[in-house]
Symmetry: C2
Subunit: 482 residues, 2 copies
């Protein structure tokens, strides 16, 4: 993918490295467009493109008539303390999540809570043509049971895509699933027995908590740092104290934080767990939606022992409705396949045939580039709208991928109350407590920018007003912050 990135992206990346190395610290003015154009021997327009790219992603701020400035980081929500460690707890989030999921698809509601990309951004016409063609050309195959592990040509394409991202595994290591959700379930199911403890980074995608609850497991929280994901010191301590049966992490374009663990940290994560012989269940559901110019390698790329179970899907980038995901199972391949087979026989066949052809065509890379640029734009626009509409004391994540924003509301604003008020105002959001087995993040919400238009912009403004109203009627501390 990196070879296909455009010139301005490469320039942006060079600048970004200089920022990250501290050459240009927070608050510092960057070289003028003209100066940088001369220095890097590229056109003015290329530099303008690069600065705009950095601006959209929250690295740089353009101040009228003054130039471009490095933005202070972290501006993200306060991380939960790295020292936080408590006993594993059973999980009981399902009722609230079920209600939230159901509301997310009510057509009259504006779905800021829905983890779904605007379908108009997806190549549905192309997928539909292939589906029709496959059904016409191979009717008997398309309506027969598929290979229990998944249609072999599809598994080959999945392995090829993963290799492009630096993770090398063969088609034989893959089992095709009903989305990443079933993949996570299967992964937990094969390595855990009821009542086992599983370590998760918090905030954690609520689907992981649903799986843990369904399987009767207990969760241990490991705090995620706001900049680079799971705190590894906390991980080490948890491993030592509780010997969890598995660790679940989303190291790339994290849901809900949007952050990506640096490659060196992913390597260290894989190394620690291999040393302790604890499986890592890697959720890469936002695979391909990185905002940076280079596709990040998953932690699976550093799996020396077959202990990383890599879960991903097409739900965020092609079609949620086809229900195709996969798991690269490492050493747990046989067990995953038999559990998948026994439960559902196999995934639906026709979507697998069609996807194999779609990937084979080679248009997927172009689609992904276009999609992630659009989503980066959505995230930028939503971030700006939030900054305009929400009261002082609100903190925003700065995603490096995906399309979620993690919003810390001023202290005292209860996100479950806000969820109810927003619902009455025709807007869905996801309240923070469903992202923690202990119901933390009371004053956080997740907002999703899978769609962006005047309607969503108004909804953000309405939400901001609701938060302000809650502050006025709420405790004194939040009013003071105004």
């Amino acid at each position: 993918m990196s070879s296909a990135s455009t010139l301005y992206q490469r320039v942006a990346n060079r600048v970004l490295r200089l920022i990250e190395k501290g050459v240009y610290p927070a608050g510092r003015r960057l070289p003028s467009v003209r100066a940088l154009s001369r220095r890097m021997r590229v056109s003015i327009n290329t530099i303008l493109g690069a600065y705009r790219w950095l601006e959209i992603r929250g690295f740089v701020e353009a101040r009228p008539k003054s130039g471009h400035f490095v933005r202070a980081r972290p501006q993200g929500p306060r991380p939960i303390p790295a020292s936080l460690r408590e006993n594993p707890v059973p999980v009981a989030v399902h009722k609230l999540i079920q209600e939230i999921v159901r509301n997310s698809s009510v057509p009259r509601l504006i779905p800021l809570g829905m983890a779904m990309v605007d379908p108009r951004l997806l190549p549905l016409a192309r997928l539909n043509r292939i589906l029709s063609s496959v059904a016409r050309r191979m009717p008997e195959l398309a309506h027969s049971y598929a290979d229990p592990a998944g249609y072999e040509p599809l598994r080959t394409q999945i392995a090829r895509l993963a290799a492009d991202a630096g993770a090398e595994f063969g088609p034989d290591e893959i089992v095709v699933t009903s989305g990443a959700q079933e993949a996570l379930h299967l992964a937990l199911e094969v390595v855990c027995r009821p009542n086992d403890a599983v370590a998760v980074e918090v905030p954690v995608y609520y689907g992981v908590l649903q799986a843990i609850e369904s399987l009767g497991l207990r969760a241990i929280e490991i705090p995620a740092d706001a900049l680079d994901g799971m705190n590894l010191d906390a991980l080490r301590a948890v491993l030592k104290q509780y010997r969890p049966r598995a660790v679940v992490a989303m190291p790339t374009s994290h849901n809900p934080l949007g952050i990506t663990m640096p490659e060196s940290k992913k390597r260290e994560l894989a190394r620690i767990l291999a040393h302790e012989r604890v499986p890592l269940i890697e959720d890469d559901a936002a695979s391909g939606l990185h905002f940076g110019p280079v596709r990040p390698s998953p932690a699976k790329a550093f799996d020396s022992q077959g202990l990383v179970m890599y879960c991903s899907s097409i739900s965020k980038v092609l079609s949620p409705g086809l229900r195709v995901g996969w798991i690269a199972c490492g050493r747990f391949r046989a067990e995953v396949e038999h559990r998948k087979t026994f439960r559902t026989s196999a995934n639906a066949t026709m979507p697998q045939l069609a996807l194999a052809e779609y990937f084979e065509e080679g248009a997927f890379g172009r689609h992904l580039r276009s999609l992630r640029n659009i989503l980066a734009g959505h995230v930028d626009l939503m971030s700006r709208a939030i900054r305009r509409s929400f009261p002082i004391g609100t903190q925003l994540s700065i995603p490096s991928g995906g399309f979620h924003l993690w919003v810390e509301l001023p202290l005292g604003v209860n996100s479950l109350e806000l969820y109810q008020l927003a619902l009455r105002a025709g807007i869905t959001i996801v309240p923070g407590p469903v992202f923690s087995p202990r119901g933390r993040f009371e004053n956080h919400i997740r907002l999703s920018a899978g769609r962006w238009s005047a309607k969503e912009e108004r909804a953000i403004s309405d939400l901001g007003n609701l938060v302000r109203q809650m502050q006025c009627c709420g405790g004194s501390s939040s009013t003071m912050q105004m």
Copy 2:
């Protein structure tokens, strides 16, 4: 459905009732075609059609120049003793079943072991046209997440079809699943906790055993009588002694026996379990494939307490590859829905949209009538071929629906050995021990007549030769039987 049955089917049914009432006992000659035509005031051709219909289904035997005779029943395999009761046991069948399932789809093998109907008998062209049309007309809906419980118009159609068969439940009681297999899993999952005991009739469809094994449950065997299914005295004793958490039964067109419980017995089964407050998990995977003129009501029709969880699918009658099944959950609706949702989010959307339209069109009833007549013919032809090719001492089930034959081989012929020999000869069969949690039925096999052609006929002949060879090389008792 019954109103649409043809005249000869209604005549056949009248004769069948007289046979069942003992008016014409086994071995008795039936009235001549001419006499019955006069008595019933229908044409000679109608009587000929009715007798042929009864002959195909094994009720009547035509003897050249002598007329039609009632066949002796039971000719089925010996039932296992009704007194048989032993402690619940953990189940471990998955390795063998997985191998069998994998071999079933190897193209060069003749799949007598595969529970799948010849795709040429399915309305695939029509389904494909609807799929393409749905994708074209509703691309965004077709690629979005479906309602977690299933697409509402599809659930309405499913409820309508069930009402036609006498089982009345609303769309709201239904959750759409990935085939009946996932439905069975969900049903077991919501009522059992690990290590709980579940009662199953034996022989039992191995998918049930897979689910029991996956969930870490234990199985108790209840023998099925060869003529009318689960022995209710044995059930009562098991309920009293072991208090199983649930009972799994397939009372209609049983897999592998092919038998159907009489309605009165289904009513009694539902009554016993309601009285004991034990849920009945009803597997109706062969729904619509009854050979008789009247569609049998499922046990769900007699569910007064919401304790029957009714599982069915389109896999045997329309398309296995679309992976659509359902469960009418009774009082367990909320729990089933949340477990389904948490595991896979929802079923694939497009197949649900297409099926709802296909059912709405109303061609399904015609298709089913045609399909079950063809399958009844297949079963008849396969039965005759087995009688021609297999040695004396072989006993055959007499199915009243579906497309499986349960074959008891002469004593001493080991079906696992036969499975291996057949595989080398290019034929798949399913050995008996996978139909029992205790590995019973060593000298039984299941053969499936979903396809029938000269190729399958040759395969039956080859199988018969293998069995004869095994007898010659085997114990003396089997040689004596020759």
